[in-house]
């Protein structure tokens, strides 16, 4: 494969890793975060410390990235998840920016000038394997009682509580899990770029991740996969229009969201079970319409 195209695929895979976690948080649990670039930063720096200063293998770096992101998320979740949705969202935004500012001023790790010389351990193969594991884990999670509890929180939080779901605990579970995905994505990014700098993890990165989740369709794993690939390639394809690249990117996203307001996949899944569900729903809708028509005509009949 072309070296350049291969690079974009790797970036798409790295984005996808972070997006999968955010998909769990936003798409399935209904919580918005604008600080996930912060968890990517934690993962990137933690893994770089592991592979350069501690001379550990890349796997250990990835593990350390996940664990450190999880720790931060757990603490922040404990403090902020009791807040109402909007406040939680603002708190995550503050966290993301705070992490960036701390790294900016942390000279031992290169400060704002960045940190060169991270080994190039990221490959097509190890990204592919990790993303595959990430997708499988997410799919198994959302099709279990734990995943259904998260979806219940998104749908109707009060009813979820009354149904015996420990809402605070499950929200934190979603938050920590999503942070692990972001941390691991950060580790791959660091070892792909071989150079990390705090400004790579600014608010715009967090926003981009959330846009991808919404673009792919909330509550759909295949939508997130599709969204991450399309929206990583799109800016590259738009290089032709140079200066207007970001404008064209924005316009393209807006156009697609207008034509498909619920995102590319609109909450549906591209899987045997998902397709079956779409078909069953169509059938049920037709049956219900028929039944309603029948009762309506019966009522008219009995009245006359």
């Amino acid at each position: 494969m072309d070296y350049y195209v291969q690079g974009i695929f790797m970036l798409a895979g790295i984005n996808l890793m972070a997006v999968l976690g955010l998909s769990l948080l936003t798409g399935f649990t209904g919580l918005f975060s604008f600080g996930h670039a912060g968890f990517m930063a934690i993962g990137a720096y933690a893994s770089a410390i592991a592979t350069t200063m501690l001379k550990l293998p890349f796997v250990a770096g990835i593990a350390l990235a996940g664990v450190s992101a999880a720790l931060f998320a757990w603490l922040i979740g404990k403090m902020t998840l009791r807040l109402k949705g909007d406040y939680f969202c603002i708190a995550t935004l503050g966290f993301g920016e705070a992490i960036r500012l701390v790294l900016d001023n942390f000279q031992a790790l290169g400060g704002s000038r960045g940190w060169p010389g991270v080994p190039a351990h990221t490959t097509m193969l190890n990204i592919f394997i990790s993303v595959a594991i990430g997708v499988a884990f997410l799919a198994n999670l959302v099709n279990s009682r734990h995943g259904r509890n998260l979806i219940a929180i998104r749908e109707e939080e009060l009813a979820a509580q009354i149904a015996g779901i420990n809402v605070a605990r499950y929200k934190n579970l979603a938050f920590v899990t999503s942070a692990i995905y972001a941390g691991v994505a950060g580790a791959f990014l660091a070892h792909y770029m071989t150079f990390i700098q705090p400004k790579m993890f600014a608010l715009i990165k967090s926003t981009e991740l959330t846009i991808i989740v919404i673009f792919g369709g909330l509550g759909s794993i295949s939508g997130s996969v599709l969204g991450a690939v399309v929206l990583t390639f799109l800016p590259e394809l738009l290089r032709a229009v140079d200066k207007w690249r970001l404008v064209a990117y924005g316009a393209a996203v807006i156009l697609i969201m207008i034509s498909r307001p619920r995102g590319l996949m609109g909450g549906m899944e591209l899987s045997p079970r998902g397709v079956k569900k779409i078909l069953a729903e169509r059938r049920a809708k037709r049956a219900a319409a028929a039944a309603n028509a029948e009762t309506a005509s019966a009522e008219i009949g009995s009245e006359s």
């Binding site: 279990s144 009682r145 259904r148």
Partner: protein, 268 residues
Amino acid sequence: MSERTTTLSPGSEILEVRGLTKRFGGLAAVSGVDFSVREGGIMGLIGPNGAGKTTIFNLITGVYKVSEGSVLFRGEPIQDREPYLIADMGVTRTFQNIRLFKNLTVFENVLTACHLSASYTLAEAALRLPRFRREERALRDKASELLKIVGLEDRAEVTASNLPYGLQRRLEIVRALALDPKLLLLDEPAAGMNPDETEQLMRLIGELRDRFKLSVLVIEHHMDLIMALCERIVVLNFGMKLAEGVPDEIRNDERVVEAYLGAPAGGK
């Protein structure tokens, strides 16, 4: 279906509310209310709009914090517990303004609420280990069976928000039953139903009570339903208990007629 072991003899009280008070700022929505529900009984809670009926449900289920007084479930105080723990103990409810998991199917609504009947961990789910598969199958069987009992099985794949109104209320009741409750609180289950549907619902509530050995506390404005269904009735007015007794006593109680029924005995 898993059976909770009953330690109390029939005839004892499953729920006892003592001096229950809730203030919102200066307004006492509920003040000093006492009553109790007998194990296996059906109790009615009636009163004019704004009397504090829903507030009492919110206090019992832990949605609101109690200002004063206590709520005892099987003799155990529960007024300081989190809602999910109270649900886990066997107290559950439906909502006056329906709160279904709207974008999920009928089946998924019930399946979600069955979660307490399974105990597999996150790791077991992620790796699809045998216990996950086994318990998941049991959950699905349980959800199907519940839908069959209330006659929603042919709507299993319909999205909840597309159900007709009466069936949405029915779905809320099954979702509550999925928790294997001991005490079921129904907040205006017949609201918006025609007389036919109301009649059916009444029969259903009675059947479910017998089948699942439930105790029921029901709020309603349909007096026919309340009078026919309930063994005892508590009447609330301005947050205070106005009267309590069997349907005949309530129907003929002058204060109740004046404050709420607003018509001679037997009327609506």
